[in-house]
Every structure is written in structure tokens, then in C-alpha cells.
């Protein structure tokens, strides 16, 4: 009896653990380096609500005072909308802190992760499974 009880649970666990695999439009590894995390403090200049990926443009002031423009790749617009984003979430001029991973070619691009607004509220611009508001853990997803 115990076996019978455990078996379906084990099978269900297998299904949940397997989850649905990653579903990016393109290969993360081909474009970004998972070994090069980056944290950027800057000011929003533009948000492109485009498929297959939204792009956030920010100006980042370096230690030397020089301003450098960065582009942050985000999720698809409908993914962000379902996660609680809207057109006013990152209006131009908003000060943000973005965590992400740098582009492999060394240019000022990154794959976005957590984005922190001036009031401390966090939005997740990229992947799921990090505990960001409105975000659900991804079954079996890599942390």
C-alpha cells in the first residue's frame, strides 16, 4: 500500500522536476557570458517594447564621471506585462539598478535580471524563478 501511495507521488515529482525547459528566443550562451555578472546603476533613457525581446536603454555614469550608454535585454513584452510591468514602469529619467550578465563580445550590452526602482521595489526584467514580485518559481529551473 505504501508503495502504491508513493509511486504516483514520485511520478508527479518527476514531472514537476522536469518542468518545462528554457524557452528563450535565442541561445543565452551564444550572446551572453553567464560567468560575467554585472550590476549597473543608471538612468533610463528608453524602453523598447519589442518582440522577441524588450530592450531597456540606460545611461551609466562611470567613476571618471563619463556617461556610458548600456542596453539591457529583457523578456518578451507579453511576458513582462503578465509579470506586472506596464508602459510607465521605467519612464525615461528613472534611476534604476540592474543586475545582469555581460555580452560575450564585450560591448555595453547585458542580459537583464533584477531591476530595482528608486523606492526599492524590484521588478524582474529577464528570467523567472528568482522570487521577484509577481514571479513564480520555475519548476526545476536553474538558479
Amino acid at each position: 500500500m505504501r508503495t502504491l501511495l508513493l509511486l504516483p507521488a514520485a511520478m508527479l515529482a518527476m514531472v514537476v522536476a522536469a518542468g518545462v525547459p528554457l524557452a528563450a528566443h535565442h541561445s543565452f550562451a551564444a550572446e551572453f557570458d553567464g560567468g560575467k555578472p554585472v550590476t549597473l546603476r543608471g538612468t533610463v533613457t528608453m524602453m523598447e517594447w519589442t518582440n522577441p525581446h524588450a530592450w531597456l536603454h540606460i545611461d551609466v555614469k562611470g567613476p571618471d564621471g563619463k556617461v556610458v550608454s548600456w542596453m539591457i535585454e529583457g523578456g518578451a513584452p507579453n511576458a513582462l506585462l503578465r509579470r506586472g510591468w506596464n508602459r510607465t514602469s521605467v519612464a525615461p529619467g528613472t534611476a534604476v539598478v540592474v543586475q545582469g550578465y555581460r555580452a560575450r563580445d564585450g560591448s555595453n550590452r547585458a542580459s537583464g535580471g533584477d531591476l530595482t526602482l528608486p523606492d526599492g521595489k524590484k521588478l524582474f526584467i529577464g528570467s523567472t524563478g528568482t522570487g521577484a514580485p509577481g514571479d513564480r518559481p520555475e519548476p526545476g529551473g536553474k538558479k
Binding site: M1, L4, L5, L7, P8, M11, L12, M14, V15, V16, A18, G19, V20, P21, L22, A23, A24, H25, H26, S27, F28, A29, A30, E31, F32, G34, G35, T50, N51, P52, H53, W55, E73, G75, A76, P77, N78, A79, L81, R82, R83, Y101, A103, R104, D105, S107, R109, S111, G126, S127, T128, G129, T130, G134, R136, E138, P139, G141, K142, K143
Partner: protein, 316 residues
């Protein structure tokens, strides 16, 4: 009493086990018998509306031989290269079907792919930074294919079905594709016509829309997105033949199943079954995309940076 309890538990456990088998679409077939769809003015069963396919059910039954990082295009084999967590996906509103995989035939839940096709897939995914020809048609924003375009991708999951006299049209959110399916009995195009998405011809079998698709070219893939795992980037041949069945079983559910045969690519025919859920408030978002927009040039420039680093390392 204890015996009865044990029997009851065993029965319920068995029911769960049966429900986990890859045998039936999510919605009970009984629902179809009790529910009659309304008709369009020209007499077709009405399947119109906005539908989505969010699911947490894996495409295939997992196997220990799987290499998901390879299917996702992980280049350095570290596993981290697939991105932080589920890179850029939309998990909201996902539903678990009662099958253990969307592939319901063969009963193993595994697609019978020929070795040469797997080798070609592995080469293309591992060399995606080398040349644009190694990208899937999806990444290049050409097409997700038929039936691949209706397999769950995790985002961009909306489908709008419209019907007019003699036609069913399906607008796919992802890659802004519109399929025009004649249901007026006309024959297929001549065999000299070869199309990325084949030539669709529909007919009504009771309340089920049956679509026969043939006349494919050999440029596309039967599935393109990472959620299809092992089947991603598996090529299609001109021998591909697909039969889709759309059955609206209640107000909010279409049971979609598809039979796929391609004797040059698969050792046997195989089937996928899954529900489409009515979501009238869902809005399809514009998908204005050309060659991946930024993804193709950025990926290729990542490859050239890799080449420069390799040359620099070699000259030291």
C-alpha cells in the same frame, strides 16, 4: 474496513497512475459528447476566439540520456550558459495537463528521431555563433513551422482563430504568422509547390477540424523553440506529412492533437496532444521581427569575439 480503505487508496493511486500515462488529451473526451459548439453563419462549428497554450507539462518524457544544455545551445557545457534560471520565459498561468508529456504516441513519450537528424541538430546548435545558417527559422523570425508554431514556447503564446465562409484562419502571436486554411474541399497544391509551412487543407469531421498538411520544403524544422527540447532544430524533409485535429470540447477548451510522419527523419509516426485554453482578455502583442532583430548580429559578434580570444591565446 481496513481492506476497503486499502482498496480505495489503491484505486485512487491507480487512477493517478493512469492519469499520468501519455494517452489522452487533458480534457475528458466525455465533455465533447455533452457539449455542442455553436455554428458560424456558414454552418461550421465555431472555434473562434483567442486561445493560449501555457503548460507545465514537458514536451517529451524526460530521459537520463537527455542533454538539455545542448538543446538550449549551451556552448561551453557548463550548464550556466543556458541563462539565469528560465531565461526570459513567462510562467504565469501555466497549467499541468494530465499526461506526463505532450508527446502521447509512441507510448514511451519519446519522439523516434533518426540518428543523422540528431547529429545535424547537435552540429547546428553547437555552431550557432559561426554562421547564420545554423540558426533555427524561429530565431531568424521566418517561422516556427507547422505544427511547431503551436507547440508551447513559454511566451508569445496567443492564437486567434477566425472563420469565414470556406475558411479557417489562425493568427499566431509568435512570428506574426497567419495560416489560411481552406475548408471547401479543394485539393492540395501540385507537388512542385514546396513551402516552409506546407500546404494546409481542412475539412470538418463532425465537430473536429481536420487539417492535412503536405508539400513542405526541406529548409525548416519540425520544431524550433527550446521548450521542445530534443526535437528543437530537427530538420523537416519534403516527405513530411502532418494531420492536425482541433476539437472544441467545451466553451473554454480546444483539444489539439497532431500526427507527424516523415520517413526520412523519424523511424515511426508520432503524435502530440494538448489543450488550447480560451483567454478572451489576452491580447496578441505585435511581433515585428527580422533576422532576430538584434539576436542574430549579437550572437555572431559573440562568436567573432570568441575567435579573437582563441587567436590571441594561440599566439601567446
Amino acid at each position: 474496513m481496513l481492506l476497503a480503505l486499502a482498496a480505495g487508496i489503491a484505486a485512487s493511486a491507480l487512477a493517478v497512475l493512469v492519469a499520468q500515462q501519455p494517452s489522452a488529451p487533458a480534457t475528458a473526451a466525455g465533455a465533447a459528447a455533452n457539449w455542442t459548439p455553436t455554428r458560424t453563419p456558414d454552418g461550421q462549428p465555431d472555434i473562434q476566439g483567442t486561445w493560449t497554450n501555457y503548460t507545465s507539462t514537458p514536451f517529451e518524457v524526460p530521459d537520463k540520456s537527455d542533454t538539455p544544455d545542448v538543446y538550449a545551445g549551451d556552448l561551453d557545457g557548463t550548464g550556466r550558459g543556458t541563462g539565469p534560471s528560465s531565461f526570459l520565459t513567462d510562467t504565469s498561468g501555466r497549467q499541468l495537463t494530465k499526461a506526463r508529456s505532450l508527446v502521447v504516441d509512441p507510448p514511451s513519450g519519446r519522439v523516434p528521431i533518426m540518428p543523422w537528424a540528431e547529429e545535424r541538430r547537435n552540429y547546428k546548435l553547437a555552431h550557432i555563433q559561426d554562421d547564420w545558417v545554423n540558426f533555427t527559422p524561429w530565431e531568424r523570425c521566418i517561422t516556427r513551422g507547422v505544427p511547431g508554431g503551436i507547440f508551447p514556447a513559454g511566451y508569445g503564446s496567443g492564437y486567434q482563430i477566425l472563420q469565414g465562409p470556406g475558411y479557417v484562419a489562425i493568427v499566431y502571436e509568435m512570428i506574426h504568422e497567419a495560416r489560411i486554411i481552406p475548408v471547401d474541399g479543394r485539393p492540395h497544391l501540385g507537388a512542385s509547390f514546396r513551402l516552409w509551412n506546407g500546404d494546409s487543407r481542412g475539412r470538418w469531421d463532425g465537430n473536429t477540424l481536420v487539417v492535412d498538411i503536405t508539400r513542405y520544403n526541406d529548409k525548416g524544422s519540425v520544431a524550433t523553440n527550446v521548450a521542445t527540447q530534443r526535437v528543437r532544430s530537427i530538420p523537416q524533409s519534403e516527405a513530411l506529412h502532418v494531420v492536425e485535429r482541433f476539437t472544441r470540447v467545451d466553451e473554454n477548451t480546444i483539444n489539439y492533437d497532431v500526427a507527424i510522419e516523415d520517413p526520412k527523419v523519424f523511424t515511426a509516426p508520432w503524435k502530440v496532444a494538448m489543450p488550447l485554453h480560451r483567454e478572451p482578455d489576452y491580447q496578441l502583442f505585435e511581433y515585428a521581427c527580422h533576422e532576430g532583430n538584434r539576436a542574430v548580429p549579437n550572437t555572431l559578434s559573440g562568436g567573432r569575439a570568441r575567435d579573437r580570444a582563441a587567436r590571441a591565446a594561440g599566439s601567446r
